[in-house]
């Protein structure tokens, strides 16, 4: 499998400095520093419970940090008003691990919901065209009238991504996009993530345990170890090491 190249630009869309977050006595993030550059796919790797999902939830303001600075598109997330946060969230798409589709709505209604609430002046034809375009982009136009309960795991993930993309975000945050999927569907999701990057010019953070996914979609990889990003770089740079905290990851995914 070809490794993706790093992105040339140095324009930061997310800048995180000295980020700390604890839950009771459990210190999850202990001084995280991270940058996401414009139009790059950054893969965040780490063991379960190391705070990967916590990190992206802090980025969209679902959780508040204990200390540190999180700057998203030149706005410091924990310093802005709720109204400004809502406006910022329109530019940051979040794809949930379990898709989080609205159970009581059809696929069409799931996509229409964020659209009509945030873009009030759209005509019915424009709404329909947007919904169909997004479903077409994820290859699931035929499911438009189905309920989420009628979809497979992979289809739900794709619809979740389409729902996020319909607001045309500048940044995409993917929380374990390939978790619980079969290898073929994982490959399809990997291709979709790359397509989203190319077609919608997004910058993305992809949280995953899956090194095949990391290699296929990541321009850069960052490994969360003991609450900090101690290894960052290309896939080979991160895994070309004898560090006993990193090697088992590679061995499990590629040697086993």
């Amino acid at each position: 499998m070809e490794q993706k190249k790093t992105i040339e630009t140095q324009e930061k869309v997310i800048e995180i400095k000295g980020l700390y977050k604890s839950f009771g006595n459990y210190h999850v993030l202990r001084g995280v520093d991270l940058n996401l550059f414009k139009r790059e796919n950054l893969v965040v790797l780490g063991k379960s419970g190391t705070g990967k999902s916590v990190l992206i939830k802090i980025i969209v303001g679902l959780l508040t940090p204990d200390a540190g600075m999180v700057n998203v598109l030149n706005q410091q997330v924990d310093q802005i008003s709720y109204k400004e946060l809502l406006a910022l969230r329109l530019k940051v798409g979040f794809s949930f691990q379990n898709s989080a589709l609205y159970d009581s709505m059809t696929v069409r209604e799931n996509l229409v919901f964020p659209l009509v609430r945030n873009q009030k002046n759209l005509t019915k034809a424009e709404i329909n065209s947007s919904v169909e375009e997004m479903l077409d982009a994820v290859g699931l136009l035929q499911t438009i009238n189905q309920m989420p309960s009628e979809l497979s795991g992979g289809q739900r993930k794709r619809i979740g991504i389409a729902r996020t993309l319909i607001l045309r975000p500048e940044i995409m945050l993917y929380d374990e996009p390939t978790a619980g999927l079969d290898p073929i569907t994982c490959l399809e999701i990997n291709s979709l993530i790359n397509e989203v990057q190319d077609r919608f010019h997004t910058s993305s953070i992809i949280i995953t345990h899956d090194l095949t996914c990391a290699k296929a979609v990541g321009n850069r990889v960052a490994m969360l170890l003991d609450g900090k990003f101690e290894r960052q770089g290309t896939f080979d740079e991160v895994f070309n090491t004898s560090d006993e905290r990193v090697k088992p990851f590679y061995d499990y995914n590629f040697i086993q």
Binding site: G24, R89, F94, F96, Q97, N98, R117, N118, R163
Partner: protein
């Protein structure tokens, strides 16, 4: 159940919090939740369409159960009251007795208890399930205020529809009573309604309306609070639904006792 962010922060400040501290923190959370409802409820944008949908779900979909219960209550209450009144030769007072009993207590209480079971549990389970499957977070990150969309509309819908259902229950209960009275005493519908409505005062209607509004608000608020703050996992959803019913019914009885005492002051 999870506490709000502020509640969690206080909880972390208090070293090894006891039962009492937790109770106060929960109370703090509840008042904060109610405060947020009043703030969000009166500020635009308004969720008119969702409010109508919730009124339909809570009101219209409860009609069958409410009708059956109200009608049977009317028949049974009349049948059970007759022997006591007959001892004093006062069966002609039956319509007045039924009218007052239904409007003052039976209709508000019956409607609210049924709604606490049916609507409260449904709200608790629905919001609880949305919380654990991250649907509420998904709304939040798509720049939609989930509190306004989910909580404000449901609480308002319950507060609006329960009083309407209460008067409907009273009316259906009266029809049940009429059926029983006309079959036993041959009383005409005109005479029955004339004597029962004569004994109902403006204070009875006011008290009943105020109680029903209060009960509706309680059912909506308890269901939403339990569901919205439900903890992770399917067990949390079950607990949210269960607590919505148990706490909702408990509070309704407390409110009934307090309101009877309160409106009693105006009657004496």
């Amino acid at each position: 159940m999870e506490h709000s962010k502020a509640g969690q922060e206080i909880l972390e400040e208090v070293k090894s919090p006891g039962r009492l501290s937790r109770t106060f923190i929960t109370l703090y959370d509840v008042f904060q939740f109610m405060g947020r409802f009043f703030k969000e409820g009166f500020l635009p944008p308004y969720e008119g369409r969702e409010l109508m949908k919730q009124c339909y779900d809570i009101g219209y979909k409860s009609l069958a159960l409410i009708s059956l219960t109200g009608f049977i209550t009317g028949i049974v209450f009349t049948k059970q009251s007759r022997p006591s009144l007959a001892e004093f030769g006062a069966t002609s007072w039956l319509p007045s007795l039924v009218g007052i009993a239904l409007l003052r207590t039976l209709a508000p209480l019956l409607t609210s208890l049924i709604a606490a079971g049916k609507v409260g549990s449904s709200i608790g389970a629905e919001l609880g399930s949305m919380r654990v499957t991250e649907q509420i977070d998904a709304m939040e990150v798509s720049a939609t205020n989930p509190f306004k969309f989910l909580v404000t509309t449901r609480v308002l819908a319950a507060t609006i529809t329960i009083p309407i259902l209460t008067f409907y229950t009273a009316m259906v209960g009266m029809l049940g009573a009429l059926l029983n009275v006309s079959m036993s005493e041959g009383t005409s519908a005109k005479l029955f309604f004339q004597s029962s409505l004569e004994s109902i005062t403006f204070l009875d209607i006011t008290a009943s309306t105020v109680k029903a509004v209060l009960f509706g608000f309680t059912i909506g608020m308890v269901g939403c609070y339990q569901g919205y703050n439900s903890s992770k996992g399917t067990e949390g959803v079950g607990k949210a639904a269960n607590s919505a019913v148990v706490i909702g019914m408990f509070l309704i009885f407390i409110e009934e006792v307090v309101s009877v005492q309160f409106f009693g002051l105006f009657r004496s």
